[in-house]
Amino acid sequence: MNSAESTGSPDPVRVYLALLEAALEQQDAAVRHDALLDAEAHLRSAIATGLTAEQAIADFGTPAEIASAYSATPAGAFGRRAEGALGADQEQTTAADMWAPAAGGRLSRIPIVGIWFQPRAWTALLYFGLVGFPLATAYFVWAVTVGSLAIGTLPLILGLPLVVFLLGSARALSLFEGKVVETFLGVRMPRRTQPVEGGADSYFWRRIWCWLRDVRSWMSLGYLVGNFPVAVVNFVLIFTLTVLGVVLMLAPILDAVGVPIGVVHDADGPLQIWFMNRRVEPDADGHLWLPSGTAIPSLLIGFALMTAVLWISRGLGWIYGHVVQAIQVARPRPLPRGSGGAAQAAAA
């Protein structure tokens, strides 16, 4: 607790941060989160050198000036590295452009099928169909294993530090997952986590207590556990549909170039294979070929299915990315009671 709060007067830094947060309202939540942490770290450092809070705030700049500086910064500066010239604009997803064509050239702007040319849809497909599921499984196993150990040892003195260790690891894993999500889904994530208030207290048990009451850490742990069933559903949905779409598209192509779609070694039994409501008969060598008249419908259905999968991946990616972002960014700081006065004057 800082001196201002201990004397009952509002902490000017807190007041300033609330004003800055309001000024940064138009900014992405992750940018806002990082900007507030930067501002707080800066102001606390300045005050620690002997400056008054008002002087430190005046030197730092008004919320409007800071917001203006962030607005003038290229969007890409807060996401992954630009692949080109310094400061080149990059894709960023917002509520308004959720369904708008992303980077990928003119072809990506073609209605509906333009999704095939949008890199973000492909990276989302990769995330849900390949990367997300094993990661979610690993997080879940970690959380359940350490969690069980912590609960089991709670009657002993060792239990509480283990819970804190679990919470700390949950925050670190959530931050890592945020980087992965940012890379694959293009939703900006904060660069660091909100510190645990009082987490650096010199008294061991007080530090433990601060960690235990930190909502953000529990949210991170909840994410690691709750993300698992979501990842399973996403994986099953995307993987199954993708395989089906690819098979439907590939079968006519293989058939056309003389590659059988299957081989039957022992056709004496009551084996019946059907493809698009037509029976597939093996030839003398046991090779299976597409029944006549099914090649083009198969290609078209496969293409439509893959197009749908890409759209689903992109939409899911947007929703999923913003849920992860919401867990990671700082919650609005409540304006201290009776705030105003000197800090607002300095900020103005």
Binding site: D34, A35, L37, D38, A39, E40, A41, H42, L43, R44, S45, A46, I47, A48, T49, D59, F60, G61, E65, I66, S68, A69, Y70, A72, T73, P74, G76, A77, F78, G79, R80, R81, A82, L86, G87, R191, R192, Q194, P195, A200
Partner: protein
């Protein structure tokens, strides 16, 4: 482009403001990179801001908070890298060091700055005699 925070508090005309802003964009990047380069250890945002403010020419004001978007841009362009250092006063502070790419860019910009400076000074020397 990154808006920079160096303002001349003595001259303020629309054209003067534009000139000042155009000049300050590149200048601020150069100065901030140089401040990070000359620090012997990783340097945090407040310390960079303090040094810039302490050594700023008379009449130039510097809004320290505008440094952070610039540092973030530099980081995303991989000119600098940051590490988090716990702080007793508040949130962990980001401390910055130059990357090899940052050193290369700083070297190139420094050379450009010196060449440009010599060129501009040659012309300004000419008008000094006219004033």
């Amino acid at each position: 482009m990154q808006y920079c925070a160096l303002h001349n508090t003595k001259v303020s005309t629309p054209l003067g403001d534009k000139l000042e802003r155009d000049l300050s964009v590149g200048t601020a990047w150069l100065v901030v990179l140089a401040a990070i380069a000359r620090a012997e250890e990783p340097i945090h945002g407040y310390e960079i801001a303090r040094q810039l403010a302490a050594e700023a020419p008379e009449g130039l004001s510097f809004k320290q908070g505008t440094l952070y978007p610039m540092l973030r841009t530099m980081e995303s362009e991989r000119l600098v890298r940051s590490t988090l250092v716990p702080s007793r006063e508040g949130p962990a502070r980001k401390c910055f060091t130059l990357t090899p790419e940052g050193r290369r860019v700083l070297g190139a910009w420094t050379e450009t700055w010196r060449r440009t400076g010599r060129w501009v000074n040659r012309f300004l020397g000419g008008i000094d005699e006219l004033r």
